[in-house]
């Protein structure tokens, strides 16, 4: 029998998670194990891994090779860029953002974390909580990943000892109080042998929680989006100008927060014109409501001037409209951030320019210390900065809304994305 019943897959949910770790933590082995034990690796892929294992002289099947990507990565035996991988169980479809864990790849970890509903952080059972654990947890907290799963790996190398697991759990729990991690789960595993990854471990009868896959299958999804604050960045105006739809003006976009219904009063930013939602359309259907992250089209009662980059919001719940922002920045380019430098900004569907005013502090991601003396923000640095934009942005605190609280920063000379920012309104990270 197939693992997908013909009705079941129409009800499957989606969970996006990120894994941070280096080769030494067994991250690639863990992903290989998840894919292998959930039967998501195909025979021809497995054959390729077998061939590569033999070529390298590895005795056993090296599951880490499953995650090999680009030529340079194979040659150097490291992960450089974020790779996206997919697997499904009858309950859920999973998207893994597989990121390298070394400090020089902080930007890649941040990238992988930006779309994740959950993060897996690997701790080597022999080493316990290290600087690297600190870094990975800080990034998960900074990017506001709602669920963090601490996998204490290599339990086979510490005799599957419960004491060791509890000690690491205690250490991390103490450390994590400095961070903002809403949901934390601990799983003792051995990725190499498969203990508690997909199959329960016979070596750790003392562990009563679920396997990693069970945890991934049961983490609540769907409540990670903001359902309170109505935010609809207008992405594209649909004007067919056909005989049938002669006067039609539809505002297409993806709901970034809250729930909208036909009849709701809305305010268009920045014009402040008011109207009511006439219809919410999804292709030929008219919907009773729309919520994040649905892509829909609104029509309004009145013919007000609304275009791309504007935002429809609820009159009793407005985002902050401002040109002066404080953001947590992750810098992603070799050329350092220029104080007083001008950059292009993309925020929701809105394009503006900005000038960088000041660096408040930098964060040492290994110790969480704030550095105030050093204003130079280079590649992979995380800093709190202030900026002023050429025209107002409609923002929420990143902690309230990941969509209206995030932005990318672009070098106008090269057009490259050189940094990313998370808006902070409610104090510091």
């Amino acid at each position: 029998m197939s693992k997908f019943s013909s009705k079941g897959y129409l009800d499957m949910e989606l969970l996006r998670f990120t894994t941070a770790g280096s080769v030494d933590d067994g991250k690639s082995t863990l992903i290989g194990r998840l894919l292998y034990d959930s039967k998501s690796i195909f025979e021809d892929q497995l054959e390729a891994v077998k061939r590569a294992s033999l070529r390298r002289g590895t005795e056993h099947l090296d599951l880490a090779l499953v995650t090999d990507g680009l030529r340079a990565e194979r040659e150097q035996g490291i992960t450089i860029d974020v790779a996206y991988r997919y697997f499904a169980t009858p309950k859920r479809k999973f998207i893994i953002a597989d990121t390298p864990g070394h400090i020089q790849y902080t930007r890649n970890m941040v990238t992988g974390a930006s779309t994740a509903d959950a993060a897996i952080i690997l701790i080597d059972g022999r080493n316990g909580v290290t600087e690297q654990t600190c870094r990975h947890s800080y990034i998960a907290s900074l990017l506001q990943i709602p669920h963090v799963i601490i996998c204490v790996n290599k339990m086979d190398l510490v005799d599957f000892a419960e004491q060791r697991f509890l000690k690491i759990k205690e250490d991390f729990t103490a450390f994590s109080r400095q961070l903002h991690i809403p949901n934390l789960t601990y799983v003792p595993i051995s990725a190499l042998h498969g203990d508690n990854v997909v199959e329960p471990s016979v070596n750790m009868p003392w562990y009563e929680g679920g396997t990693l896959l069970q945890v991934l299958e049961t983490i609540p999804v769907g409540n990670d989006h903001n359902m309170e604050d109505g935010r609809f960045p207008v992405q594209y105006v649909i004007r067919p100008l056909s005989d049938q739809f002669h006067d039609y003006r539809g505002y297409a976009g993806r709901v970034a927060g809250g729930v909208f219904k036909p009849g709701d009063e809305v305010v268009a930013l920045p014009s402040m014109f008011k109207s009511k939602i006439k219809t919410i359309e999804s292709y030929k259907a008219q919907l009773e409501k729309a919520w994040a992250p649905m892509s829909v089209t609104f029509t309004l009662d009145d013919d007000i001037d609304v275009s791309r980059g504007d935002m429809l919001v609820k009159p009793d719940n407005m985002p902050k409209v401002t040109q002066d922002l404080k953001v947590m920045l992750c810098w992603m380019n070799e050329k350092p951030l220029q104080i007083n430098g001008k950059y292009a900004i993309k925020h929701t569907t809105r394009d503006v320019r900005c000038i960088i005013k000041s660096v408040e502090y930098k964060v040492n991601v290994n110790t969480l210390e704030r550095i105030k003396e050093d204003g130079e923000v280079g590649l992979n640095d995380i800093a709190c900065i202030t900026m002023r934009t050429t025209s107002p942005l409609f923002i929420d605190d990143y902690g309230q809304n990941r969509r209206t609280g995030s932005m990318i920063i672009i070098d106008e000379a090269t057009n490259n994305t050189v940094g990313v920012g998370m808006v902070t309104l409610n104090g510091d990270f």
Partner: protein, 302 residues
């Protein structure tokens, strides 16, 4: 309170792809949608239709035609174009050969697959397209796993995998200099299974090639290839009639057929759920070397 606001994985994927399509329309002046007649590009057309309804989608379809098509693909393509009133632009590999832009491979295993890159880049230049929307998926191949939704190409059409722009949240940076273009992959996050489930859910019409039929085929290195006038047998190969269907559709010379009796979408989905070989396992174009796809992509392949 939020449980009633859950979405299924197919809904989430569709909303994401619609969002990407609309970003393309908003950020670029002359986009085009690459249409091969395969299921992935058919799904993209369907999503584009939904994203801009009740208006037409604001870009033409662009078919890079190797001249080695299955007849059914062209019939399907022309019907679809007529039904939607869409604009179709064809870039012809035969024309690139006639103009001596490329030289045809020789021998029995010759394929026009790699020649498509030149035709594609020439056509993009000729029509001044600044964005080409493609149906590439990250689950297809290891080099594709690192691909962005908005993938920047320099003035030579090249992809630099080690120097890609960071891509975070759902904010896409389509800024570029004159002469450069973007490849856009709206269904990056879909798997083969997602595509089939979506086709079933949306009741999308497909070329008959995807369903079981009798066909004259021959076996080359374990792969079943179709009999066509431009295919040549090697010594020891012979034609036989088999019950087959296509799992992917590309150029005849590199599309392996699957022995199958699946005659409906439900049966196809059951077959794929049970199969243990990847979709591209039957694609001769990927078997040329371990980094075959990465190398072709760097040059400007789809």
């Amino acid at each position: 309170m939020n449980s009633k606001y859950n979405l299924t994985h197919l809904e989430e994927l569709e909303f994401e792809s619609m969002y990407v399509m609309r970003e393309v329309a908003a950020q670029f002046e002359r986009p085009a949608l690459l249409f091969s007649g395969g299921k992935d590009s058919i799904v993209m057309v369907h999503i584009a239709m939904k994203a801009f309804y009740p208006g037409p989608f604001p870009f033409p379809l662009l078919h890079i035609d190797t001249g080695h098509n299955f007849d059914e693909t062209i019939v399907y393509r022309d019907n679809l174009v007529k039904k939607l009133g869409a604009t179709l632009i064809v870039g012809s590999v035969q024309q690139s050969i006639d103009q001596r832009r490329v030289v045809e491979e020789k021998g029995a295993t010759a394929s026009r697959n790699i020649l498509q890159t030149t035709t594609l880049l020439d056509t993009i230049e000729q029509y001044k397209f600044d964005a080409a929307i493609g149906g590439g998926r990250r689950d297809e191949e290891k080099a594709r796993a690192k691909e962005r939704f908005f993938s920047h190409r320099d003035e030579f059409g090249q992809w630099d995998p080690k120097n890609q722009r960071p891509e975070l949240w759902n904010i896409f940076n389509g800024r570029k200099n004159i002469g450069e273009h973007f490849r856009i992959f709206p269904i990056s996050n879909w798997t083969e299974m997602d595509v089939w489930q979506y086709i079933l859910k949306e009741n999308i019409e497909l070329p008959e090639l995807y369903f079981t039929h009798q066909r004259e085929v021959f076996n080359r290195d374990g792969v079943w290839l179709a009999k066509y006038p431009f295919m040549t047998l090697k010594e020891g190969e012979f034609y036989e009639t088999k019950t087959v269907r296509c799992r992917t559709i590309g150029d005849v010379s590199c599309t392996g057929l699957t022995l199958s009796t699946a005659n409906s979408l439900e049966e196809i989905i059951q077959e794929i759920a049970a199969t243990r070989i990847t979709e591209r396992g039957g694609r001769a174009d990927d078997k040329r070397s371990e980094a075959a796809m990465e190398d072709r992509k760097k040059e400007g392949y789809f």
